[in-house]
Point group: C2
């Protein structure tokens, strides 16, 4: 399949030194100078498709290091990723970004990076590190770095105030490609965001918002949750300038094992009506050109021989995967060894607090009752609602246990501020407790539950493990995920982490938490840029107003 | 017209500080932050089209300096050119390139440059300067430089030997875009040329060669002589990746005045059946993206407000031309003053030889007759044929005058070698003589004629003028063009030079030279990369073999 011309035709592909030397019609001889034929593969019955390029993702969302990530995605035909190491940067700063770059060396997966632009996302939380204009300038000089990662703080961009505005200005001055994050932004605000230098968006869009973005010259990156027949139809009709990509953003390890990665997004788009060739172009030549990667994205002379053989374009399966001309996977199995990577010791000691004792899970209050802010969780969205409730006070503390509420506490765990924020949550667990250091974006220690004893025990498990997720009830560990690298990533394989995540998922069900995306719903309870009321180590965040608000509204 | 999505729709365009701030539907308000409305133009009845971008041209072919060039093309809607200053570089080296960059400052025409890759084209001639890998590395660092200019010596590329191969390697190492020149190259040779890093071609192509180039990932640049309905049809069908451009390459001043520039190529392509919107994309967004110029090529937020208003897309005419939001031309007339440019004194003294005396136009020979190589000119092509003829010898010299041949002499004029090469030409003038320093690619002094006295006089006029073209018969100057800057360019306006060129053209007719492109046919008689037998200051060049051959084959 020719991704450049959107054609299919029979052809010979000649590869030399890892690069496509020539593509000749099936009837022609292939007179390539100085090339000896080493090995010939008869690809009859297969389409040769350029290996897939993922233009926007966070490897940390799959909770593994780059080698394990490669082991999971290379057999699916994904050989290039442009990853934003936003999560690990929030914990470890530049050291985290360097870790990701070093861990990716020598893999049959080409890992390019974006500089995380919003570390931390806001000043309403305490992250493990800050990345400012100075660091941005340094990072943009690294050879692995292709772009400035998603600029989430669009208010800063529009007003020209704040860290994100400074970071963006530094990147634009450097001539960098700048990735966006513009949920629902439209009209003059969207135009101003683009004019400031941000030229892509991967957030959820309606067909109308998709059209507006393509007309304005943005690269539109559709992820799984955005895929819908009408959006695909409208976007495909306007994508005349290689500015439509399919991307993954966040893929959890168990989803990766069960359904796949970018290959799954590709199949889904086609199933929803996208032309198969156009869909493949949206995961090959389009993302390659977005980042100026003229050395890939098509099977053409001078480009890397990153090639997938598939029996069907409509139902893409990576039957053979070649990285730089070398067979690296076949029938879904890796056929080459991957280099080992040993993370530095500092990456294993990022949970820098003692386990919180049971008495930390108590909300002192005076009088007989108080009016308190409540985080109301929703069943099908990671957004929350801000509510208020009148709650009784017992023994000098809010009696949340008898009100069927969960107590939530976020402990700053990077060894910086020692801060802790408290909130009350309705619609989460009915029983037991969970603790997790995988808690966007600062990845502090979130502890949430119905019982102070269980909360303390879940927290202790996570702290002593060096990070991860734990679910406890009545003193029993029901499920857990060990994530000792930066407190968010495992050293093991995707299937192993998926297995552990399964225990944690089942435990959440046992504890009475039903949600379409339960882990993410808990993991972004701490995200102060996601509506409506969230909790960080600095306290409750009114996201709409962008301020910290007190838990108790009146005495 | 939206060049990104290939749509037309009614819209408001808001411009602030020279940049498009927003494009809103005709019914919507335009709530751009911090923008005050300064001036409103009602464009009803017009299409707003991005200003044209010429991806491949030599400004020197129009025989003027950048300010005069801008005065000619800006009113035609061309506001960006990516020019290869190949001609002036062959005379003045880096000084010539710097002159072009400096002369272009402050114009309402954005002039980007390519580094000429083949200065000189071969070692079979003496140019005024050489540009090697060292100079290439320096030049690629200049902010005006966007690419390495057309790599003409494809044999050097394919064998990896020679200056062009070294220059290409330096450019590829630098990550530069590399422009090609691959006449009739096909199959494995074309693939190898592309794999070496050359990714465009603007030479004449058949429909089949066009298809091969697009499939192989080249940017195909169609110039006037290449335009044909079937080529357009086939190329348009495959140009799915913004890799089809329309370009001018060489436009002579009188053609520019009479028919136009890139606007004429655009109209011609549409007349031959190209979809008007696709044709406009081939002169706007496609060339802009070819060179990574994300700040233009479309009317979209954040891009320069380089906009043309035209009443018709089918018959494109630049009724209003805005450069960075400022009206610079209207109804074909410039409406702003252009900055003056004074070339450095060294640019005016590049003809560094005394006028050759009459006795230099003599071919000594022994015996009674000789067999000599003859350059046979053709009527409709600038290619020549190599012939041999038996010629009488009289008074110790070949008697070419009685054989209806022209004598041609090429004098090295840069003050370097003092060399002179001689040839005999059939099918050129019947009478008189011409002299010209506009003689590709080294721009030495070509003198050609039927009479030694006329040849000496024509040569004297050109030498004393500091360069140009002169036609003389019987001691009378029939026509002439003054090109005192580097011997190839005038300081005057395009219409003025066109006028002079008209006198020279008419003189050629008077002297009996009939050709479809007479000036170019003479000007490339000295080009040692254009088949079949050519003449340089080092002698006759057998172009096919790439060697100097003697005029007299046997005594």
């Amino acid at each position: 399949m020719n991704a450049l011309t959107a054609e299919t035709y029979a052809a010979h592909v000649t590869i030399a030194e890892g690069v496509v030397a020539a593509v000749a019609g099936a009837q022609e001889s292939v007179p390539v100078r100085d090339a000896r034929a080493w090995d010939v593969l008869d690809g009859s019955g297969y389409f040769a498709v350029p290996a897939l390029v993922d233009a926007h993702l966070h490897i940390e969302s799959s909770m593994v290091l780059p080698p394990a990530f490669a082991a999971a995605v290379v057999p699916r035909g994904i050989l290039t990723v442009i990853a934003d190491p936003h999560e690990i940067a929030n914990v470890m700063g530049l050291h985290g970004i360097r870790l990701m770059a070093e861990a990716a060396r020598g893999l049959p997966l080409d890992v390019f990076l974006q500089v995380p632009s919003c570390v931390p996302a806001t000043d309403l939380e305490t992250s493990g590190a800050e990345i400012g204009p100075e660091e941005i300038r340094e990072l943009l000089g690294w050879e692995e770095i292709l772009a400035l990662g998603e600029v989430m703080d669009f208010n800063a961009v529009l007003t020209g105030q704040g860290r994100a505005a400074e970071v963006l200005a530094a990147a634009v001055e450097h001539g960098a490609i700048v990735e966006g994050h513009a949920p629902n932004l439209t009209g003059g605000d969207l135009a101003a965001y683009i004019a400031a230098g941000v030229t892509s968006d991967h957030t959820f869009v309606t067909p109308e918002l998709a059209e507006e973005r393509l007309r304005a010259g943005m690269t539109l990156q559709l992820q799984l949750k955005t895929l819908a027949p009408e959006t695909i139809r409208r976007a495909s009709a306007l994508a005349k300038s290689l500015n439509l990509c399919l991307v993954t953003d966040d893929v959890m390890p168990d989803d990766l094992v069960r359904t796949g990665h970018l290959d799954h997004v590709l199949r889904t788009a086609i199933r929803m009506g996208m032309d198969p060739i156009e869909a493949i172009r949206a995961v090959t030549i389009a993302p390659a050109m977005r980042f100026g990667l003229t050395d890939r994205g098509a099977i053409a002379p001078g480009r890397w021989a990153h090639i997938v053989l598939t029996k069907s374009l409509e139902d893409f399966r990576a039957d053979y995967v070649f990285h730089a001309g070398r067979l690296v996977a076949k029938d879904g199995e890796l056929v080459v060894p991957l280099p080992k990577y040993e993370p530095p010791e500092e990456a294993r000691s990022t949970v820098r607090i003692p386990p919180p004792a049971t008495d930390r899970f108590r909300l002192p209050a005076r009088g007989r009752s108080v009016t308190a802010r409540i985080i109301q969780m929703r069943r099908e969205s990671t957004y929350t609602e801000a509510r208020t409730e009148r709650l009784p006070v017992k023994d000098g503390a809010i009696d949340w246990e008898s009100s069927n509420l969960c107590l939530a506490a976020v402990f700053e765990r990077h060894g910086r501020a020692g801060t802790v924020g408290y909130g009350l949550v309705r619609g989460a667990l009915r029983d037991g407790a969970v603790a997790m250091t995988w808690a966007h974006d600062s990845h502090n220690l979130l502890v949430l539950g119905r019982s102070p004893a269980d909360m303390a025990q879940a927290a202790r498990w996570v702290v002593e493990t060096g990070g991860g997720m734990a679910a406890v009830r009545g003193g029993e560990l029901l499920g857990s995920v060990r994530l000792p690298i930066a407190g968010i990533v495992s050293e093991r394989s995707v299937p192993e982490v998926a297995e552990e995540l399964g225990t944690f998922r089942r435990a959440l069900t046992t504890l009475g938490f039903t949600h379409t995306s339960p882990i993410m719903a808990l993991g972004v309870l701490t995200l102060p840029v996601s509506p409506e009321l969230k909790l960080t180590d600095l306290g409750l965040v009114d996201v709409t107003r962008g301020v910290i608000v007190p838990l108790i509204m009146e005495g």
